[in-house]
């Protein structure tokens, strides 16, 4: 009786039965490409892992040039299971970016951005930028040699952009050079600004997915089956998440994330500095681009091209909005395949290049 009273009391205030009714009605389309639906949820799950492990790391991490490296060293050597938390945080970050790319390309090739899902795509594109910023800012936080110089090179690249480049560089670095001030503000972005922004965009993104439901490719519109979201789909999601925990645990135990040497701003840059793998294709492009292209500075041109591509990414659903336009459909498919091939090839080249 008392439990019923409590349930009724809560229901009156939170409309739980209405929500449960909605959840009960929610269905997921089942067809040949349903597998791709899981990658959005997997990205979200890995984001939650990041939040949880990030909060634990915050208990010991100290964001200053004098203490950052030592505090991470303390976490992985002295704190009970600190090594596990730190390694999972690093591995999960990388897996999250990988699943995010898979999710984005699957959405692109399945044309899930067709009306009325344009805003869902745009919020996803914002989340891609936010996640990349998460990666870039988090990479510096252990204050090790590689991270220090990668940040130096990364921010220098940002500084090359005409007119706004220099102010952006100074804003990112907190001065003319990468110093403790850079570390402090990267920490601020990483644990406050970006999580807050990400939460808003994830909220919008997930809410829109609920509003519009899962997109069904045109080919299967007339022949697909349905699966209940609760519990059938969510339990399948759960299997993926449980296995993801297993993968993360295995990676952390077998390949603990290295700490390296403490950053020394006065030391010369070590040979063969490379950014994280998800920046490699851009890095390799900038390395290969000639110094001068049509009288323009090659590096500037390369950076502007990447900015333009990022802008195009945002407006994809506003250019390709007619499911009947087969010619445009083909052009977009070619562009997508070329972009994917380019990213894969240049990443491999960047990885093996000295």
């Amino acid at each position: 009786m008392r439990i019923n009273d409590l349930t009724n009391w809560l229901d009156e205030r939170l409309a739980i039965s209405t929500l449960m009714h909605l959840a009960d009605k929610k269905e997921v389309p089942v067809h040949r490409h349903s597998i791709w639906y899981y990658f959005g949820g997997m990205t979200l799950f890995l984001f939650c892992v990041q939040v949880a492990t990030g909060i634990l790391l915050l208990l010991y991490y100290r964001p200053s040039a004098e203490n950052a490296f030592e505090s991470v060293q303390f976490i992985i050597t002295e704190v009970k299971f600190g090594w596990l938390i730190r390694s999972i945080h690093s591995w999960s970050a990388n897996l999250m970016i990988a699943t995010l790319f898979i999710h984005m390309f699957s959405v692109f090739f399945l044309r899930s951005y067709y009306p009325p899902r344009e805003i869902t795509w745009v919020s996803g594109a914002f989340l891609l930028i936010i996640v990349i910023c998460f990666g870039f800012s988090g990479y510096l936080l252990p204050w090790n040699k590689l991270a220090f110089f990668a940040t130096k090179v990364g921010t220098e690249i940002a500084g090359v952009v005409p007119i706004v480049g220099r102010p952006i560089l100074r804003f990112l670095r907190g001065g003319d050079d990468v110093t403790g001030a850079t570390l402090t503000r990267f920490f601020g972005f990483h644990v406050a600004v970006l999580p807050a922004t990400a939460t808003v965009f994830i909220g919008v993104h997930v809410a829109l997915v609920q509003l519009h439901g899962m997109h069904v490719p045109k080919k299967y519109e007339d022949s697909y089956q349905r699966m209940k979201f609760f519990p059938n789909f969510i339990l399948r999601d759960a299997i993926g998440w449980i296995l993801a925990i297993g993968v993360l645990a295995a990676l952390a135990a077998l390949f603990p994330w290295e700490l390296g040497e403490k950053a020394d701003p006065f030391a010369p840059a070590p040979a063969g500095i490379k950014p994280e793998w998800y920046f490699l294709f851009m890095f390799q492009t900038l390395k290969w681009i000639p110094a001068k292209v049509l009288g323009m500075d090659g590096e500037v041109l390369g950076i502007m091209a990447f900015n333009l591509i990022a802008l195009l990414l945002f407006i994809v659903p506003f250019i390709d909005r007619d499911p009947e336009n087969r010619r445009r459909h083909l052009i977009f498919n070619i562009c997508g395949v070329v972009a994917l091939m380019y990213i894969v090839v240049m990443t491999i080249v960047g990885y093996v290049a000295k």
């Binding site: 090594w83 059938n232 297993g246 603990p256 040497e261």
Partner: protein
Amino acid sequence: MKIENCKFQIDPVVSGVRLLKDGSRNLQFRVCNFQFAMAFLIASFLLLVLANAAFAQKKSSCIECHIKLDDTRLSAPAKLFDNDIHKSRGLSCNDCHGGDPNADKKEDAKNPSKGYLGKPKTLDIPAYCGKCHSDANLMKRFNPSLRVDQEREYYTSVHGRLLKEKSETRVATCISCHSVHGIRAPSDPLSSVYPSNVATTCAKCHASADYMKPFGIPSDQFDKYKTSVHAKALYDKQDLSAPTCNDCHGNHGATPPGIASVANVCGQCHSRQAELFQTSPHKKAFDDKQLAECITCHSNHAIIKPNDQMIGTQQGTLCVNCHSNGDKGFIAAGMMRSRIDELIASIDKSTAILKDAEQKGMEVSKPKFELKGATDALTHARVLIHSSSTAEVDKVVAPGLDAAAKGYQAGLAALGERRFRREGLVVSLVFILFLALLVYLKIRQIESRSASASNKG
């Protein structure tokens, strides 16, 4: 006051000279303050006159004539002088050689009545340079920090004594080392007495067997020096503080250090070793046997990098050259070597296990850093062997062994931790896979239930 209808307007209010455009499109100069303009013109004129005077070359008929001569012996000084430090300080030919650089005729320029001295004889060169370089008051005008005792010191050197006492003109004088007419500051990398050029400069004479023959001294010093640890530091590592000829022999007072002073020479840099040697039993024994201290074991010009094989009781070690089985020195040498070997083995063992742990992904930078305590102890022990005291060596080897043992324990702990992680992973994976299996079975159960419900329906 304003003058209307005139191209020049004088306005005492505005200062400066400006070009203006009026409504009728005529260009006008507005000169503000007439006095100011006049003062400006006079100042400009004076400036031109002064600049002309300053930039006018000081006449030197010596260079004007000599530079044109076909005989390279006579033209070279004029050409070389362009890079000479004396020229950069405002000195010219006549400041050393006398004469009149303003005279256009050779006879007038080289007139002895005008103080012309000509080329100095070899015997006179030290005094010739010393005219200025031994004069403290004069040198203050050019380089107050430069010493003025070079000439006096030179006459104490073997070179100087031979020149003065035996009128031996084949010996080195100022110009043999510093060159002549193209003299550069010793801090100039192109100078013949720049640290990395000193040995080559000395070798010009000292590496020539024919040249050294009359003096009865060997000529292999330079070849030997090139194989030494000092030369490697100087040439390979570009360490300009590494010793070259003059650092041990002196420069202006160049003399081979005698038996009694060798230790002092080496002790200028290796002060701790020299200090320990002075307190060791070797000191008295070396003095009694008239042995030169450092070089008896380390040699002089061909000083190789010291290694642990130099000490001990095995054949090939230096100790057995004097000590024989059973004597106190023999026993001490054996013990010191065995303690050092023990420390090296312990460090190697710890380094290997830490490296292994690191390669397996374990974070061991802290124990690796702490292991430096053991390597520092090893360095210290290698220095302490100059005391010839096993007890002194042991004082640093013992803590070194402790530090190395701690490093080894840290390595063992890291590998143990790695094992624990792997075992923990296996247990976790079993649990995780079991959980995934349970969820999978739940899905099947739900779906088979709903399928049978829909079949019934």
